[in-house]
């Protein structure tokens, strides 16, 4: 079973880089060769293409729901995210990951059976910076823990702890 953990975002756009920061921390703690850790500034079709060949994927990203205090970490299956962009304005130059996953699956691509998201609540920033806000920086450790908990809960995992997903998947988006 191949697993990919991927930190998403723009590494020079303030809190948008939180996915990268968390992924780099996770990289230091994961020793299993079947688990790959990466960072990327991708979305939609390009991201779907990156996920081909893996059985399980954990995405780490900044999120702005407005429903939680900045710095709140939530994890949930990607299906819990609304896919409002069944249309094509998801980005003005792409489609959503979920639509892209549907396309990939129709084309018989080997795509993961589970895609989990670890999301850190942030405020979208328009200011270039390599620094995280104090709230986001504080949330990084919790996000790392959630990623490791998710890994432990995956089928075939040899890790000791198994995360109780019930609370984390409820009440989201």
């Amino acid at each position: 079973m191949k697993t990919l953990i991927i930190g998403l975002g723009n590494p020079i756009l303030g809190d948008d880089s939180i996915g990268w920061v968390v992924a780099e921390e996770v990289r230091k703690k994961v020793l299993d060769k079947e688990i790959e850790v990466d960072t990327a500034a991708l979305g939609g079709i390009s991201l779907m293409e990156r996920l081909i060949g893996y059985d399980h994927v954990i995405l780490i990203d900044a999120i702005e729901t407005g429903q939680f205090p900045v710095g709140t970490v939530n994890s949930f299956p990607i299906e819990n995210l609304a896919n409002p962009m069944a249309g094509h304005s998801a980005s003005t130059h792409d489609t959503t990951l979920m639509t892209a996953l549907q396309v990939g699956r129709q084309l018989q691509a080997h795509l993961p059976t589970t895609v989990m998201v670890v999301a850190v609540e942030t405020q979208i920033t328009y200011e270039f910076s390599e620094d995280l806000s104090p709230e986001a920086a504080k949330a990084a450790a919790a996000a790392v823990r959630q990623v490791l908990d998710l890994l432990a809960g995956l089928p075939g995992s040899t890790a000791a702890s198994s995360a109780d997903m019930t609370n984390r998947t409820s009440n989201l988006l």
Partner: protein, 490 residues
């Protein structure tokens, strides 16, 4: 009672990336405002960094066209050091760039523009996407699109060192070359890309041009503007994406000016409006006359259509055939109908694929002369390439150590800010009249006005949800919400 209609792609960011349509008391369109989100502080972020880092830093501006920023950044850095890189280096960069163009233009046609024509502008939004296209035209299409993207990514990775965000271009050339085996692999993929581009043009011919309704939509007045047209051209005035001079033709199609990248400040100025952060570039020597068409207005566009309008032809034979066919079909040069941009984009796709094969076939492409060491004291330099969505200008100033002291960028989408605003206004004014029922299909027709320009808001879509739901709110003059249309919102 006057009304305000807001098409808001990013509902949580007041004042950013949205279209506002104001209706007068009669229910006709009084005015429209199109606001684009702008990332700030990039200049400050770059100051103090070595100029050779710029091709890496600038390709992080946004995730949509990092390859374009990498190329413009590398060319500006070449200029800062006064270096003309060796022929092999220039060919390798252009080869990477041609493959990137194939990926980018393919995505736009099949995922964005295609659904409007294949499914129809009035199709339910849940079907008006790439999945709908695959359902209607066949699974085979989806496979080809993914294959084309895979090949494009592969070439970027081989020459650029990694997928999507290349890292091998430095002042004076590249950090590495390619082997003969890689050349062969790239060449085979390029041949496939030429077939794919021809297939795409045939699809466009059958589905769009073969449908009178769509052809009428393209040639109709709703999406027509007579402006200046900009594009990079080679020494034969043929379209070139990587290098050359910037040529501008007037609304009659005659050359207005042709300038070297370093001369851009003599020709381009930027207009400011109080209702948006983003500036409106215009032709300085014609002058800003407002959001109006015509020879006296400095408004220009920089898109696939403008590149074809600004050139005398295409540098490759198959693309040239289609170039001639397009102008013959649409009544000669220049073409003012903005929806023809989709056709022009596919002609560019074919050109990029042919150029890919040409460059990959050149025996010198595997030479190890891919870098010239900088020896001059660095000062200032400009690099211009054609990004898929418009002319991209990078201008850097450094101190004598090559440390950046100032940066100026004019990105592709920015060039088209004024004409996009005009297109939205005209489409809205034409489609929304007194008594019109504003529905999803109609809003999509307005949206099609700016979709043709392939604008890049990548900067606004990095964080999850990463989606751009459109919400239209009808308000009475006292601000009371009368109705809300939610497009793409669950």
């Amino acid at each position: 009672m006057s009304q305000r209609i807001t098409i808001d792609p990013i509902t949580r960011l007041e004042g950013h990336g949205k279209i506002e349509i104001f209706l007068d008391d009669e229910g006709n369109v009084e005015n429209t405002y199109f606001q684009i989100p702008e990332l700030r502080g990039f200049e400050r972020f770059c100051v103090g960094r070595p100029v050779e880092e710029m091709p890496l830093l600038t390709n992080r501006i946004c995730g949509v066209c990092p390859e374009a920023h990498h190329m413009a950044g590398a060319k500006a850095a070449d200029a800062v050091y006064g270096i003309d890189p060796p022929r092999t280096a220039k060919m390798l960069r252009e080869l990477l760039y041609s493959a990137f163009y194939c990926t980018d233009h393919t995505t736009h046609f099949y995922a964005l523009a295609g659904p409007d024509f294949v499914m129809g502008p009035d199709a339910p939004v849940a079907e008006r996407n790439i999945l709908g296209v695959i359902h209607k035209v066949g699974l085979e299409i989806g496979g080809k699109v993914i294959q084309m993207r895979k090949y494009g990514h592969a070439v970027v990775e081989i020459i650029g060192g990694r997928k999507v965000h290349p890292c091998t271009s430095i002042p004076g050339g590249l950090t590495k070359g390619i082997t003969k085996e890689q050349q062969k692999e790239i060449l085979e993929m390029g041949k496939w890309a030429v077939d794919f581009a021809q297939f795409s043009l045939k699809l466009f011919n059958d589905i769009v041009l073969g449908n009178k309704t769509y052809l009428d939509l393209i040639v109709g007045d709703i999406y027509t503007h007579k402006t200046y047209y900009m594009g990079l051209v080679d020494e034969n005035n043929h379209v070139n994406f990587y290098d050359g001079k910037v040529r501008v033709v007037n609304p009659d199609g005659n050359e207005y000016v042709k300038y070297a990248p370093s001369e851009y400040t003599q020709h381009i100025a930027e207009h400011v409006e109080p209702w948006t952060y983003l500036k409106f570039p215009y032709l300085k020597n014609v002058g800003w006359k407002g959001f109006v068409d015509g020879k006296d207005s400095g408004v220009y566009i920089a898109t696939p259509l403008s590149r074809l309008n600004a050139a005398d032809g295409m540098a490759t034979p198959l693309a040239q055939e289609h170039f001639e066919k397009m102008y013959e079909t649409l009544g000669g040069k220049p073409v003012h109908q903005r929806l023809a941009t989709h056709w022009a984009r596919l002609i560019e796709l074919l050109y990029a694929a042919e150029r890919w094969v040409e460059l990959a076939s050149d025996p010198e492409i595997t030479s190890d002369n891919f870098h010239t060491k900088p020896t001059q004291t660095p000062t200032e330099g400009v690099g211009i390439v054609e990004a898929p969505r418009g002319t991209l200008t990078h201008h850097y100033w450094t101190d004598e150590r090559g440390v950046v002291t100032k940066v100026n960028l004019i990105v592709g989408t920015t060039n088209n800010y004024a004409p996009m605003s005009m297109s939205i206004n005209k489409a809205a004014s034409s489609l929304i009249k007194k008594g019109t029922v504003v529905n999803e299909g109609l809003l999509n027709m307005v949206e099609m006005a700016f979709r043709a320009y392939d604008p890049c808001f990548g900067c606004a879509t990095h964080s999850l949800p990463g989606q751009m739901p459109l919400e239209v709110t009808l308000r009475s003059s006292d601000g009371e919400i009368m109705d809300v249309f939610k497009q793409f919102i669950a």
